[in-house]
Subunit: 192 residues, 2 copies
DNA sequence: CAGCTTAATGCAGATTATTCGCTTTAGGTG
DNA sequence: CACCTAAAGCGAATAATCTGCATTAAGCTG
């Protein structure tokens, strides 16, 4: 996923990548997400790989962490639940659960450190929003523009996770989706 | 600003901090914002300061960069222009100009790497929003909740800067503010 | 399927960054 | 003015990073 497009993707190269990714995940787990406990040599040893391999493939620790983060935060697949509101919830609620935990926020931060990875990841998210929107339109539902969905639902939630450290219940994702899609009906409708 | 609250803020300590901050800014300038050109020893030499001083005070390069970033991106002061819409524009437009440039985005990213600095900075921004809102209410204007201002204006703009690399004109900040404050009048009102 | 080609890895030495204990400096205080 | 102490300087020890060269194994060719 979002992997370096290697000319030789099979075999050893892939095994090394997997070993390194797993080593990072395991080490973060063991040290309660404490980045200070990680270093390239430590990851290398755990992965059974030479340090210089990591430097060559990922450049430095932050970029390795960003790669692991974007891999770990694998975008949900869009799923057809029959309604736009259902699709939006099925798609976005799991994201928020992932990202809003203390660990998820840290992983998100790791990803943000790498501009290219971040951009790819969020482009993919936007693609999913467009997919969901197209499903709705094919069904005959009216659907807001993808940009509006992002402005009203996605952006405020990501912003609050990142800058306010809000938890999933505080974020009221279902409520935000409902307000966007059914503005008349939903004036005061707390969900937690 | 947001400085380590030093028990002894005057004198040498302050001079060192200033020298180091200036060294970082100058070096970034010289190398076109290329982070790879910076290292703690390089900054130390330019600042005329010992490397170990930097390690002790800031911990590592990313945290130093975050400190410099939050210092550089000094929040605008709230200014009473007579109307809520004017105050919002006077306050937020300069932010967007700063942040949305390629250099500003990089600086924002530097800041985001440090959770504590980020949180302080955005808490300060939120305080300003509340100040603006209180000014408006004191004037007798009706004003949206601070949370709503952030959800509708601030969050989408920051999100798009960070994840879509949008430029200031694309972000249509004045338009966003107008739509929030005068929802009836503004249906289609491109500003660029 | 043996032999060839080459990207990717391993290895070891050189370089550079980071840490640490100790000494020195200079604001603040009585 | 002498004392106290947080912060800075210094240098040696440790650790991380980079680099050139040797080795490995995946993909290709015949």
């Amino acid at each position: 996923m979002m992997a370096t497009a290697t000319p030789r993707p099979g075999g050893r190269s892939a095994r090394v990548q997997q070993a390194v990714h797993e080593a990072v995940r395991a080490l973060l787990e063991e040290h309660g997400g404490d980045r200070a406990a990680l270093s390239v040599p430590v990851v290398a040893e755990r992965a059974g790989v030479n340090s210089s391999t990591i430097y060559r493939r990922w450049g430095d620790l932050p970029r390795l962490l960003a790669a692991v983060a974007s891999n770990r935060m694998l975008p949900e697949q869009v799923e057809d639940t029959g309604t736009l509101e259902g699709d939006m919830q099925a798609w976005f609620v799991p994201y928020v659960e992932e990202f809003s935990s203390s660990l998820g926020r840290q992983v998100l931060r790791d990803m943000l450190a790498d501009g290219a990875v971040t951009r790819d990841y969020f482009a993919l998210m936007q693609g999913h929003v467009e997919e969901i929107r197209n499903l709705a339109r094919a069904r005959g539902e009216t659907a807001p523009a993808a940009q509006e969905i992002i402005d009203v639902v996605v952006a405020p939630v990501i912003y609050r996770i990142l800058f306010n450290h809000e938890s999933a219940p505080e974020l009221r994702v279902r409520d935000r989706i409902a307000r966007l899609l059914r503005p008349e009906e939903t004036s005061a409708d707390p969900e937690d």
